[in-house]
């Protein structure tokens, strides 16, 4: 977007192909209307589907049929929608984790690692075990949540401390700690907790499972077969909490102030070092909670590849949502649907392609927020190249 050619270049390019109109690109001087950011995001998602449709048509598929199939597989029934939400749950939490940090211009690329460590810490409750194996779920689950958030927060604390004390670049440290976290988990599941030589721990007891809708199928037959678990409410509640923190709390004011101008924040007496540590810990805790929700709500044990890159997708989710918590929920549901859809169609890359197009379209739609593009009727061209006497 910063490489956008100025108006005159566009019209010069137009002169070569001689269209009866010309595109005028003008920098916005007035405030952007409030609805516009949301409208461009929706518009670019639509555009991404149109472009993907063209690609699908080119390889001989009927795009409408494919999309119809997608829609049925992701939103077509309660069961399908429940699957979509299950995939959206970790994305919401991880997307929020990234949003909080990015709001302060703190580039936490380590949500993936914080996710794994969160899962590991939550597993400790069951596997060590920290609590008696026959504890009530009312004790077990809060303990796992607390441990998951503690683990994620610890994994955020380390880069936060290094950044605050020694100005170590958090992009590098958080990225590297991802690998440490994955390998740390591998050590335990390959060696110490391996279930009969497989790279996974034994299944956890039912008292550590997050309740699912299907658990209540006896009372409500409608819920039969629905995999949606309590974790989705963690996501929704966390979104509300993050919104409140950023928009209404004193801490959030400090975060926004530092994010916009750290020098002004320092001048206003805000401690940047302390906020770096706290925000990294909050970010890590949210990602850690996502890890806990995934093992306790879906896989019910600690194993390899519990995350198909949720931590990295979370970065994209946060960005597409423009760091807004409500946006994070919506984008996560869209991305969750794409994950579900990729299981339903062959080749599975189709869904990833759409994801890619969405990313391109949304990021480039930022141009519309900074520039106004108008179509105007072409004026008669002055003779000679520009710059000569007219």
């Amino acid at each position: 977007m910063w490489l956008l050619p100025p108006a005159r270049v566009v019209s010069a390019a137009k002169a070569m192909i001689n269209l009866p109109f010309t595109l005028l690109v003008e920098k916005r001087t007035e405030e952007v209307p409030r609805w516009l950011p949301a409208a461009t995001s929706v518009g670019s998602v639509v555009l991404a589907f149109v472009v993907s449709g063209i690609v699908l048509a080119a390889i001989g598929a009927n795009p409408l049929q494919v999309y119809g199939f997608f829609a049925r597989a992701t939103f077509g029934s309660w069961a399908a929608f429940s699957d979509t939400l299950v995939k959206a749950t970790p994305l919401i939490l991880v997307g929020l984790a990234c949003s909080v940090a990015f709001k302060m211009k703190l580039w936490n690329i380590g949500a993936e690692g914080q996710f794994y460590i969160g899962a590991f810490f939550a597993s400790l409750v069951v596997l060590v075990p920290l609590l008696p194996t026959d504890s009530s779920p009312w004790l077990m689950i809060p303990a796992m949540m607390a441990m998951g958030m503690l683990g994620g927060a610890l994994w955020g604390f380390l880069p936060g401390l290094l950044k605050a004390r020694f100005q170590v670049n958090e992009i590098i440290t958080t990225l590297m700690l991802n690998y440490v976290a994955v390998l740390w988990n591998n050590f335990w599941i390959f060696d110490r907790w391996s279930d009969a030589g497989f790279q996974m721990t034994p299944t956890f007891g039912r008292n550590s499972w997050l309740p699912r809708l299907s658990d209540y199928a006896r009372e409500y037959p409608l819920f039969s077969g629905l995999t949606l678990h309590l974790g989705v409410f963690f996501g929704l509640f966390a979104a509300a909490a993050v919104w409140w923190i950023l928009q209404r709390s004193r801490w959030g004011y400090e975060i926004r102030l530092i994010g916009d101008n750290p020098q002004a924040a320092r001048y206003a007496g805000v401690s940047i070092a302390r906020n770096v540590i706290w925000v990294m810990m909050l970010s890590g805790a949210l990602a850690g909670l996502a890890g806990m929700a995934e093992i306790s709500g879906v896989v019910h044990r600690l194993q390899e590849r519990i995350s198909p890159g949720y931590g990295f997708t979370g970065i994209i989710v946060a960005w597409l949502a423009k760091l807004h918590p409500l946006g994070v929920i919506l984008v996560s549901i869209l991305f969750g649907a794409l994950i579900v859809a990729s299981r339903e169609v062959q080749p599975s890359g189709i869904a990833q392609m759409i994801q890619g197009f969405v990313l391109f379209a949304v990021i480039s739609s930022d141009v519309l927020l900074r520039y106004k593009i108008r179509l105007v009727r072409a004026a008669p061209q002055p003779a000679g190249p520009p710059g000569e006497f007219a």
Binding site: L257, G269, F389
Partner: protein
């Protein structure tokens, strides 16, 4: 200004032509280098230039005067090829021209010396001058170009080491590089956009000398400014803009009074004499003892500075920029660590305490850099106004921020301090310099400070805003606040201060009271002579 009568070193005997990059030198008989006629520029919601006429004679310095937002820079951006006017004609040397880009303007010999320098800090002077030119093509034969640049330097008396890197040279020298850049590209018309805003008094002198040398050799200059004394010192003719319209077109400078010019600019009478009531100063509030601090470059900035300021007193700090003024303000407000010495405010020890300690001790700070330090540009006026008081009731209650009372507070201040903006939800980056400064001032004064550290509070503001801000400072003085006023405008210091301390190389050269202000003495102290040396009969040290 002291010594504004100093004349330029005029290197006589040099041919009146620029040997490098001679292009389009279609000299006509027109006595005008530039004629702009009926120029109209519309921005969304604003008529920035409303049928403006402007002419520039060959070999003259034409000052373009006006308040902030009067349309001066817009008009000159048309001449520099940055904006295309909605209507109007532009002639250069008598020929009608249209510019589609700055390149076209340069081809016609028009160059702009921007207020904010467009230089690459890590490259040398020569490299910066050559940047973007078709030559050298591939091999960078720097010595050859360095010689060319040195020729240009000696022709116009613009000395700066061509091999020095930009970050190593002073602001004044950087500006000379900008001037050399335009000259190297063959400029005959130079537009200076508020060139003195960033300069120290001595550098302003040098610049005025340079401008005289340039016109002596046939260059023509447009000088955009709102500082009346500089315009007086340098301009041959003036054009005054107000709200996009010409209120005085091409008047000869001789015989104009400052009051007359200010009236043309502002549209009403401006009081130059600041009425200052005599108030007896109270107890010493701010005490600085043997303060030592290091600059960002790692060089000693303050070298044992001591000063006391009493309640209800304004102490001005005079000095050439870069003699420790910024560091002094930062040490008091906790933004910079002190190497040794002591800062106390009303008995509270503030040495090497965090900025919050200074805020809580009642130190307000009007920072030098309004956009980078004093405000958060993408936050609203409300968010910026509560920056110092969001911790206290009624705005901050415990862990939340009370939106309604924050908005109410912001609206009150917007009213009281006459901040012009559509609403308190406006982002502060949309505000003009004067209104932004009023936001900062409103915030700092309503904190009920014991001490105000005001650094360049009126720099770059128009006459109306300057007046308002000076009045607010005087009101604070009356209310018993101790004010440290750091300014490069000696006139302002003399008008407002009860005492002036002159700073040189991180030390106080001497403190003079209001009854004995003497420009000559202050000038000598600014260049490093101690007051006690000055006042001994034969200049010997006591």
């Amino acid at each position: 200004m002291p010594g504004k009568t100093q004349t330029a070193p005029s290197p006589a005997g040099f041919p009146n032509a620029n040997p490098i990059y001679v292009r389009n030198r279609t000299m006509s008989d027109s006595p005008y280098a530039v004629e702009m006629h009926d120029i109209v520029i519309k921005f969304p919601g604003v008529l920035a230039n409303d049928r403006v006429d402007f002419t520039l004679k060959r070999g003259e310095i034409h000052a373009l005067l006006g308040e902030n937002g009067a349309g001066k820079s817009t008009l000159m951006n048309v001449l520099a090829g940055l904006y295309k006017p909605n209507s109007g004609t532009l002639r250069v040397n008598g020929n009608v021209v249209t510019f589609n880009s700055p390149r076209d303007a340069i081809a016609q010999g028009i160059g702009m010396v921007h207020q904010h320098f467009m230089l690459v800090p890590t490259q040398t002077v020569t490299e910066n001058i050559l940047l973007g030119l078709p030559e050298p093509r591939f091999f960078l034969n720097l010595p050859r170009f360095e010689r060319k640049i040195q020729e240009l330097q000696s022709q116009f008396g613009l000395t700066v080491d061509p091999k020095a890197k930009i970050w190593q040279i002073s602001v004044g020298e950087q500006q000379r590089v900008e001037i050399l850049k335009t000259l190297y590209r063959g400029a005959n018309v130079l537009i200076f956009d508020e060139p003195t805003a960033v300069l120290a008094p001595q550098e302003i002198h040098d610049l005025i000398g340079t401008m005289r040398a340039l016109v002596a050799q046939g260059k023509s200059i447009v000088f955009i400014s709102h500082k009346l004394h500089e315009v007086e010192a340098v301009a041959d003719r003036i054009t005054v803009l107000r709200k996009g319209r010409v209120t005085a077109g091409g008047l000869p400078m001789t015989g104009r009074t400052r009051r007359e010019l200010a009236q043309l600019m502002v549209g009403r009478d401006v009081v130059f004499e600041v009425a200052k009531e005599a108030t007896p100063p109270g107890e010493a509030v701010l005490k600085l003892q043997q303060l030592k601090a290091t600059s960002n470059k790692g060089t000693p900035a303050l070298r044992g500075l001591s000063l006391e300021i009493c309640a209800g007193e304004i102490v001005g700090i005079a000095g050439v920029a870069g003699n420790g003024q910024s560091e002094l303000a930062e040490c008091i407000t906790g933004l910079r660590p002190c190497d040794s010495g002591q800062v106390t405010v009303a008995g509270t020890q503030l040495t090497n305490q965090p900025p919050l300690a200074a805020i809580l001790a009642g130190v307000s700070h009007i920072p030098e850099d309004r956009t980078r330090v004093g405000s958060a540009p993408n936050l609203t006026i409300t968010d910026n106004i509560i920056m110092k008081c969001y911790r206290q009731e009624p705005i901050g209650n415990g862990i939340t921020i009370d939106e309604p009372s924050a908005t109410k507070f912001a609206n009150e201040l917007k009213e009281r301090y006459d901040i012009l903006a559509p609403g308190v939800q406006t982002l502060v980056r949309k505000l003009s310099g004067g209104n932004l400064q009023k936001v900062i001032l409103a915030r700092e004064i309503t904190a009920n400070p014991r001490v105000i550290v005001a650094v360049q509070p009126t720099r770059g503001l128009d006459v109306g805003a300057v007046e308002a801000i000076q009045q607010h400072l005087l009101q604070q003085r009356k209310a018993g606040t101790a004010i440290l006023l750091i300014s490069e405008e000696l006139e302002e210091l003399i008008a407002l201060s009860d005492r002036i301390a002159v700073i040189f190389d991180g030390q106080v050269m001497g403190v003079v009271g209001a009854h004995e202000f003497n420009l000559h003495e202050i000038g000598l102290m600014m260049t490093g002579t101690r007051l006690e040396t000055l006042r001994t009969p034969h200049g010997r040290k006591v």
